[in-house]
Symmetry: C2
Subunit: 364 residues, 2 copies
Amino acid sequence: MERKSAGGRPTVYDIAEAANVSTATVSFSFHHPDRVRPETRERVLNVARSIGYLPSASARSLVHGRTNALGLYSFDLILDAKGETAEGGTTKDAVLSEEPDVLLYPLYVDEVQRGFELECSSNGQALVLDSVASQDAGRMADFAGRVDGLAVFPGRTEDEILERVARRVPVVLLSRPMQSGMPFYYIQVDNDSGMRSLISHLVDVHGLTDIQFVGSLVDETTDFQFRFESFQASLRARGLSVPAKPLNQTVLFGEESFANLKRTRRPGQPPQALVCVNDQLALYILDEFTKHGVRVPEDVILTGFDGILAGRLSKPTLTTVRQPMEAMGRHAASVLYGSAGKPWDESDSATFPVQLVPRQSCGC
Amino acid sequence: MERKSAGGRPTVYDIAEAANVSTATVSFSFHHPDRVRPETRERVLNVARSIGYLPSASARSLVHGRTNALGLYSFDLILDAKGETAEGGTTKDAVLSEEPDVLLYPLYVDEVQRGFELECSSNGQALVLDSVASQDAGRMADFAGRVDGLAVFPGRTEDEILERVARRVPVVLLSRPMQSGMPFYYIQVDNDSGMRSLISHLVDVHGLTDIQFVGSLVDETTDFQFRFESFQASLRARGLSVPAKPLNQTVLFGEESFANLKRTRRPGQPPQALVCVNDQLALYILDEFTKHGVRVPEDVILTGFDGILAGRLSKPTLTTVRQPMEAMGRHAASVLYGSAGKPWDESDSATFPVQLVPRQSCGC
DNA sequence: TACTTGAATCTAAGCGCTTAGATTTGTTCA
DNA sequence: TGAACAAATCTAAGCGCTTAGATTCAAGTA
């Protein structure tokens, strides 16, 4: 059973040889102490330590058919509302003189990810992360082949590849639209009641009547859809005028628009409200407004959705609807862990509650 | 070449059989398109798609001896200054009514981790995360066997296991003390100049003279050591009285201490300054002070170190020294990626600059 | 003494993939 | 027509590990 004991990492064969036992005994020494005589085990372990043995996770996984790792697949939303690219200054010329931009981190996905991490950690699972720029069937398939289960964030993916993966591995979809074919586990939030309580607040507490919905095409996730529909329904239920379409934020920018926003407001009449599809967009708009002298909430009222950290740092702070992001991430990991690597038998879902967080931007 | 084509995930053998080719051709179809006739390739790929094939990363890694994944190993610092445990509410009973605690997230490690993630992503490497509660030689070794290189955050680990891993895999140590044996790549910050400019600010701008260093035993990282020494050196250079030992935060708490802090200040005399080893500690202390009526910066001046986000949200905001956390994480990943899985030949290091960030807590 | 028994250890197959080298097939040219 | 060569495909070994089943051996039993 001669093996090349080349310069690479030492293997069980190297240990076996040096300890004068078979590889079976080596393996037993690590994993079934009772099946080997104490002094033999001792000897094996010592040899292993002294030659610097590191077990190969790949070989192990190959045998067991399990990796003991859960995956989280996300999409670089780099070309965001803000249009920034995340070119990486790998060198040390980091921008230290400015406060890090909270509109880049931590975002929604980061907080969900944190929950996922915590849960993996407490289940002793490794966490494998991959985030890609564009959809890439191969990449996703390869990724799926690395883990016992995975959660996928919103982003452009062909349904087909998702189905393909779900056929072999349990997949959790985070705030993603329903798929047709294979079973998935959907994790979502109660957008409807969130939006209702937001509108209720704007109307009943602040007496607003002119309310628009703002969302850009880039953000057309499921949430976008649901939120806009609930938005319309809420206004309709109150007999207020219901926008047929969401506003694209670009129409808000430009000198005429800014001037208009500042002027529009007549004494005694409440300002217009812009209900944004999420915090990121709201904060971006807030930024532009501030730059151009449009005052929030005096000239116009602005609200977000999600409850990202940045909304607590902005001036004014951002009224929003908070999602239990960490809990959602935890739940995703927990459900995957429970599946033990077997694809779901049937689709299932969990809907998390949300909570209105009134802050300054709505006039509170 | 009969293989059991059981109910498990389909393999190259299944594809080969269905497409009536050998496994070699299957493999070539995926990875060496030029070595197979276009129509054959087409056929193979179609079969693969239709039977729901997912390549096994384990098998691949086993063959290649590389995983194309980089690891980040961290320690649950859960039993922190704050003494909270991170018991996981996996269920939906998340606490939605309160703002998430920024003293739990994002912290120093999270921001470094983000940089690491970004760099992995842009190099097409998967990122494997593991965070453990206590040192556990086996766990760390297993983890190391999963990746082509890894970075390790500060935390209690036996040096020996670190050495063992470093012998076979490139290891980056983040703000960790120098080791003796094997080569490592150290990533650190210029604690010295950071501390100097902080002291300079307190003394030269605010005219302070009574300056103490606060740090708890839990935080005894390398940074602790360096920062305290620079702290002493700075004071000494200015002829101010130099504390021989750091204060443990516990001595600051208790009614007598609070009362004392409020009383001490005589008109015209500047308040005492508490230079904390890091932001987390400073913010925790700030919290306690606020609860007990000790005013910052009026009664006492407080500074941190690191530049975590929470310091921008506290009242008052926290004067600190900012580290380029994201850049450090990026650099770690970048260096590991460059090593192509080969352990370092010799130790090396990179020291990142820091930047004083004066905010309200120092009286600015 | 011959025989059973169980503990300790070993042999060898196999996990799913890649790839060097062998084989087959098709084409070109003397 | 057959040799020479290239293209397409195949055979089979091997990556490092685990584990069922075989083997060895010492102790216990009749």
